[in-house]
Symmetry: C2
Subunit: 210 residues, 2 copies
């Protein structure tokens, strides 16, 4: 049975806002419950309902800076005056925990860029909207933001898409079920990658020599 | 809609005999009817029921040698006095045919090795038995071959497995449904690979500039 243990997989999921990543991420968690969600560190104050250690690891700016100084983050960034980062310890804890088959990172292309540089075998997926018209429609559908905010979000989405080169896979979210099948396919394929499964073949060869 | 056209995929499926490739291949064809099966050239005489152009392209030895001389094959081999080869024209015909989304090659590691050298973006999958004991059981289950023939097949299987390094993916066929899900995953993931989907992102960026 040990032959069939799933190899540990680090998976980056990224997308411009409006591409429908949240729904896809939730479906992925349901499908692969053994794959853990990464919890980021942040200096932002907790919102009501947010739980320390579950939604974020809430830390002070001093604590955050100290972690940066120790190179404790595989990626971090400052956004609107708040810092966010993914700690290496978070990954190592999951990796050493029995029954945990991987970790998903919900980050932007800048985080993806940093993690890929530090952990070369991480797998990265970028969710694309089916069209810019549909992206605009989805951004508008969110509520009553001003035209200025909408235009800024649209520009931010274009900026994200311009960095698609930092991702291994591009999944178009036209129909959510089809997009999910492709996302599921990425997980199953990457688990089957030779570099992650070579030990299986070696075990067969050792058994063949007996 | 043209956004969602599946990119053309070349997929090598290989396995030691007894690993259950035939069933998996059939299921893959049912799941992806737009992916064409490669028809090899051979100098072997047709068996009753074999149809020229469907099971094989039956050719004379002179014709085969002439094709080899013109570098018309992406892989070829001589096995027990008969020649087998996969012609480049076969692939190009499929690639240019509307509605055809790829081609599957049912070949051994030596064919895989040759095709990968000539067509670097081909995707290769090696089906593994769950254990050597199970492999032997499956080989024995096939009928009443002599012990000598069984041992030769078992050794041939080990020889195949020793060359797992020529494949991108290793799929263990313990439970056929699980193995098939992984095989399906490889096709869906490889269709989503950035290098095959970059044109989608470029189209979005062009539309975003309008």
């Amino acid at each position: 049975m040990s032959l069939m243990v799933d190899p540990f997989l680090l998976l980056i999921l990224s997308s411009p806002s409006g591409a429908g990543k949240t729904t896809l991420t939730r479906k992925l968690q349901d499908r692969f419950p053994a794959v853990r969600f990464s919890v980021s560190h942040t200096t932002r104050k907790p919102r009501p309902n947010e739980v320390d250690g579950k939604d974020y690891h809430f830390v002070t700016r001093d604590q955050f800076d100290e972690l940066v100084g120790r190179d404790a983050f595989v990626e971090w960034a400052e956004v609107h005056g708040n810092c966010y980062g993914t700690s290496r310890a978070e990954i190592e804890r999951a990796r050493s925990e029995p029954g945990v088959a991987g970790m998903i990172f919900d980050i932007d292309y800048q985080g993806a860029r940093q993690i890929r540089a530090k952990i070369p075998d991480v797998v990265s997926v970028f969710i694309l909207p089916p069209s810019m018209i549909e992206l605009e429609r989805r951004l508008r559908g969110r509520g009553s933001e001003s035209e200025e905010i909408l235009q800024r979000r649209f520009q931010a989405a274009i900026d994200e898409i311009e960095h698609y080169g930092f991702f291994d896979y591009l999944v178009v979210n036209d129909d959510v079920e089809t997009a999910f099948k492709h996302l599921e396919g990425v997980v199953l394929a990457e688990r089957s990658r030779r570099t992650r499964r070579a030990e299986l073949a070696e075990r067969l060869l050792r058994a063949g020599k007996l």
